[in-house]
C-alpha cells in the first residue's frame, strides 16, 4: 500500500473501527438529447482515505463542493460509492449484500444537519426514536423503556414522548435525531453539520451533549463541518478536504497550530474570532478566485489555481504543481501529520 493509504494514528493502540480506503464517488453528467449519453462526470470525491478509532472524533472539514457530505453518505452506503473500500471491523461495506447491509446499519448511524427536515412531522417523538428498534425487531420486550431512556440520555424529558416534532425547539429536535441514531447502539456516528442550523446559544448545548455521549458510550465520530471553530473544539483529529481530495490531516492541535498546506492556512486565517483585539491584529491570507468546477478539476494539485504559495514559487517549481499531483504523506514536519503539497512548510 502506498503511503497515501494509511494515515494511521499510532498514539491509539488497536485497530481503527472504521477504515476508508481510496473512496471515489463520481456523478455522471448526461447529455440532454433523446439518447442520454454520459458526457462527463462530477468528481465529487476522488480518492479519500482515513481511519476512525473508537472514542475519538475525526473532523472532516471543507467548504461547499469539497465532497465532505458526499463522503459521509458514501460511507453509510446511502449513496453507493463508485469505487473504494469502507471497512468496518474487517468487513467491507461496499461489497455487502442487501441483507448484510441492513444488519450493518446497526453499527453506523447518522445525524443530519437540518433539525426541521430530519424528523417526520407526522409521527410522535417516541415513535421516531422507536422506529429503528422496530425495523430491526428489537422493540418487543422493553422497547418503550428503551425509548424513554434514550430521551433522558440526550437531555430531554421522556414525558414529552407523545408530542410531535414541531412542538420542540431546533436544539431539542437535533437531540431527538441523536437519540434516534443511538437507538441501535452504533459504534460509529456520522454527524453531518449537526449544529450548523442551530442558533449559536443552542449549539453549545448540543456540542456538550455529543462530547458527553462520546465519553459515556465510547462512540467514534465522523464530524463533518465547515465551521472550524466547532471542529477545533470537539475533534481529536482533523482532515481538510478540497475539491474531492484530502489535502491535510493531523491531530487537532497540530493542524491548527502548525498547519502546513496553503489551503488550510488560508482557511484558518479566514475564520473570524469573537475577540476584537485579536481580530484587529490578525493578518488574513486571502485566497484568490473561485473554486473550480468539480466536473473539471485542475490537473496536478487541485488547489494550484488559487494557491497563494504557488505565486511565490519559481517557474520550475510552479510547473510541478500542475504536472504532478502531490501525495498525502508525512513530510517530516510533524508526527502523524500528512500533507498533500510539494512545498509544504510548517508555520506556527
Amino acid at each position: 500500500m502506498s503511503t497515501t493509504d494509511t494515515p494511521t494514528d499510532a498514539s491509539t493502540a488497536g485497530e481503527p473501527i472504521l477504515s476508508v480506503r481510496r473512496l471515489v464517488k463520481e456523478f455522471p453528467i448526461k447529455s440532454h438529447s433523446v439518447v442520454r449519453r454520459t458526457v462527463g462526470a462530477v468528481h465529487a470525491v476522488s480518492g479519500v482515505s482515513f481511519d476512525i478509532f473508537s472514542g475519538q472524533t475525526l473532523g472532516l472539514v471543507g467548504e461547499s463542493g469539497c465532497g465532505k457530505t458526499t463522503t459521509s453518505r458514501a460511507i453509510l452506503h446511502l449513496q453507493p460509492a463508485t469505487s473504494g473500500e469502507v471497512v468496518f471491523q474487517g468487513r467491507d461495506v461496499t461489497k455487502m449484500s442487501k441483507g448484510d447491509l441492513r444488519r450493518m446499519r446497526r453499527n453506523m448511524q447518522i445525524v443530519f444537519q437540518d433539525p426541521y427536515a430530519s424528523l417526520n412531522p407526522r409521527i410522535t417523538v417516541s415513535e421516531i426514536i422507536a422506529e429503528p428498534l422496530k425495523i430491526h425487531g428489537l422493540y418487543r420486550g422493553g422497547g418503550r423503556a428503551q425509548v424513554a431512556e434514550l430521551m433522558s440520555l440526550v437531555g430531554l424529558n421522556p414525558e414529552h414522548g407523545n408530542r410531535f416534532p414541531h412542538e420542540f425547539s431546533g436544539g431539542q429536535r437535533q437531540r431527538i435525531g441523536i437519540a434516534r441514531a443511538l437507538a441501535l447502539k452504533p459504534k460509529v456516528l456520522v454527524l453531518d453539520e449537526p449544529v450548523s442550523a442551530l442558533d449559536v446559544s443552542i449549539q453549545a448545548g448540543v456540542i456538550n451533549l455529543l462530547e458527553d455521549l462520546q465519553d459515556e458510550l465510547g462512540l467514534a465520530y465522523l464530524f463533518v463541518a465547515h465551521d472550524l471553530s466547532v471542529v477545533r473544539h470537539i475533534a481529536d483529529r482533523v482532515a481538510v478536504m478540497y475539491l474531492g481530495k484530502i489535502v491535510e490531516v493531523a491531530d487537532t492541535e497540530s493542524l491548527f497550530e502548525r498547519s502546513q498546506h496553503p489551503y488550510t492556512k488560508a482557511l484558518i486565517s479566514a475564520i473570524p474570532i469573537p475577540d476584537p483585539r485579536r481580530e484587529r491584529e490578525r493578518e488574513r491570507i486571502l485566497v484568490q478566485g473561485d473554486v473550480p468546477s468539480p466536473a473539471n478539476p485542475p490537473s496536478g494539485c487541485r488547489f494550484r489555481t488559487r494557491c497563494p504559495l504557488r505565486m511565490t514559487l519559481s517557474e520550475t517549481d510552479a510547473a510541478r504543481c500542475a504536472d504532478e499531483e502531490p501525495a498525502l504523506v508525512d513530510r517530516g514536519l510533524g508526527p502523524q501529520h500528512l500533507t498533500a503539497c510539494h512545498f509544504a512548510e510548517s508555520e506556527s
Binding site: 430530519s118 424528523l119 417526520n120 429503528p132 425495523i135
Partner: protein, 315 residues
C-alpha cells in the same frame, strides 16, 4: 429543572421564575396541527358556508326519506303538478313526488361519488407514491400507463358503445369502476409530484439510514405526509364524479333503472322545459350544481388550510 449556579452569593429565586412560568402557561394555549388546519379553514368564508350547505344537502338526502311523507316509488294521481305545499318539488309524469326522487337521487349520487373518490384516490395515491419513490424507468413506465388512462376518451367510447350495451352492463359496480378509472390518474400525478420533492427530505434519508425497507418508507413516511393533498383530491373527485356521471347519463351510460341518480333524473326530464314542467329538469340540475360548487369551495378551503401561501420576512 436543571440546577443553577449561585452567583456572588445571591440565592436564586426559583419561586419567582415558577410564578412567571405559570403566567405564561395561561397566556398561551396549546394547539395541535389539526386545530391549526381547522382555524385556517374557518377563515375561508366561502368554504365555511359551503360546508354548511353541503351538510344540509347530505342530511336532506340521507335523513330526508325517513321524514318525508311519500317515497319516490309511490305513483299518485297528481301528474305533473307544479311545486306546491304537498309537493315542494312538484310531481313527474307518473305522479311520483319529485322531492322524494331528488332525495333518493342525491343519496345515490353521493354514495357513488364517495365510493369512486375513495377508490380512485387510494389507488392513485399509492400508485403515484410508488412511481415517484422509485423513479427512473419504473416511474416513466408507470406514468405512461397512467397517461393512457387519462387520455382515454371515455365519453367518446361511451357514445360508441351505445345504449344497448349500456343497458346490459347496467351494473352499478361497472359504472363505479369506469369512473374510478377516469379519476385515479389525476390523483397519481399530484401525489407523485409531492413524493418527488418529499423524498429528498432528510427524514426519508434518515429512515433509509436506519435500514427501513421501501414499503415502510412509502407507507409510513411518504404517504402520511401527503395527507393534505389526498384530502383535497378526494374532495374534488366527489364533485368531478357527480358531474361526469351526469354527462354519462345523458349519453345513456350512467346509472340505470332500478338505481337512481341526479344525473338520471336530469336525463329523464330533458324535455321537461318544453313540456311546460321545467321544475322537473331544473331542480335536480340545481342540486347537481349546488353539490359540485360547494364541494369545490370546500376543497379550496382545505387546500388553503393545509398549505397556505405566505410571504416571509426575516426577523
Amino acid at each position: 429543572m436543571p440546577s443553577r449556579v449561585n452567583t456572588a452569593g445571591d440565592t436564586l429565586d426559583s419561586a419567582a421564575r415558577q410564578a412567571a412560568r405559570t403566567n405564561r402557561e395561561f397566556a398561551v394555549k396549546a394547539r395541535t396541527q389539526r386545530q391549526i388546519v381547522f382555524t385556517r379553514f374557518r377563515r375561508h368564508k366561502a368554504a365555511l358556508l359551503s360546508l354548511v350547505v353541503f351538510v344540509l344537502v347530505v342530511l336532506f338526502a340521507f335523513i330526508g326519506p325517513y321524514l318525508w311523507h311519500t317515497s319516490d316509488t309511490f305513483m299518485s294521481n297528481d301528474i305533473y303538478t307544479a311545486p306546491d305545499a304537498a309537493h315542494p318539488f312538484g310531481t313527474d309524469s307518473n305522479g311520483i313526488d319529485m322531492m322524494a326522487s331528488v332525495m333518493q337521487g342525491t343519496k345515490s349520487s353521493l354514495i357513488i361519488a364517495v365510493t369512486v373518490s375513495v377508490a380512485a384516490t387510494t389507488i392513485g395515491a399509492i400508485y403515484g407514491a410508488v412511481s415517484g419513490f422509485y423513479g427512473g424507468w419504473t416511474d416513466t413506465i408507470l406514468m405512461r400507463i397512467a397517461d393512457l388512462f387519462l387520455t382515454f376518451p371515455i365519453i367518446a367510447v361511451a357514445i360508441m358503445l351505445d345504449n344497448r350495451f349500456a343497458a346490459e352492463a347496467s351494473s352499478l359496480w361497472l359504472l363505479i369502476l369506469v369512473l374510478a378509472a377516469l379519476f385515479w390518474p389525476g390523483a397519481a400525478r399530484v401525489i407523485r409530484a409531492q413524493v418527488l420533492s418529499l423524498k429528498e427530505k432528510e427524514f426519508i434519508e434518515a429512515a433509509r439510514a436506519l435500514g427501513a425497507r421501501d414499503r415502510r418508507i412509502i407507507f409510513r413516511h411518504l404517504l402520511p405526509n401527503t395527507l393534505g393533498s389526498i384530502i383535497v383530491i378526494a374532495t374534488l373527485t366527489v364533485a368531478g364524479t357527480i358531474l361526469t356521471e351526469t354527462a354519462l347519463s345523458f349519453l345513456g351510460f350512467g346509472v340505470q333503472f332500478p338505481n337512481t341518480s341526479l344525473g338520471l333524473l336530469v336525463t329523464n326530464n330533458q324535455t321537461a322545459i318544453e313540456g311546460g314542467h321545467p321544475w322537473l329538469f331544473y331542480i335536480p340540475g340545481v342540486f347537481i350544481i349546488l353539490i359540485a360548487l360547494t364541494i369545490n369551495f370546500i376543497g379550496d378551503g382545505l387546500r388553503d388550510a393545509f398549505d397556505p401561501q405566505q410571504t416571509r420576512v426575516r426577523a
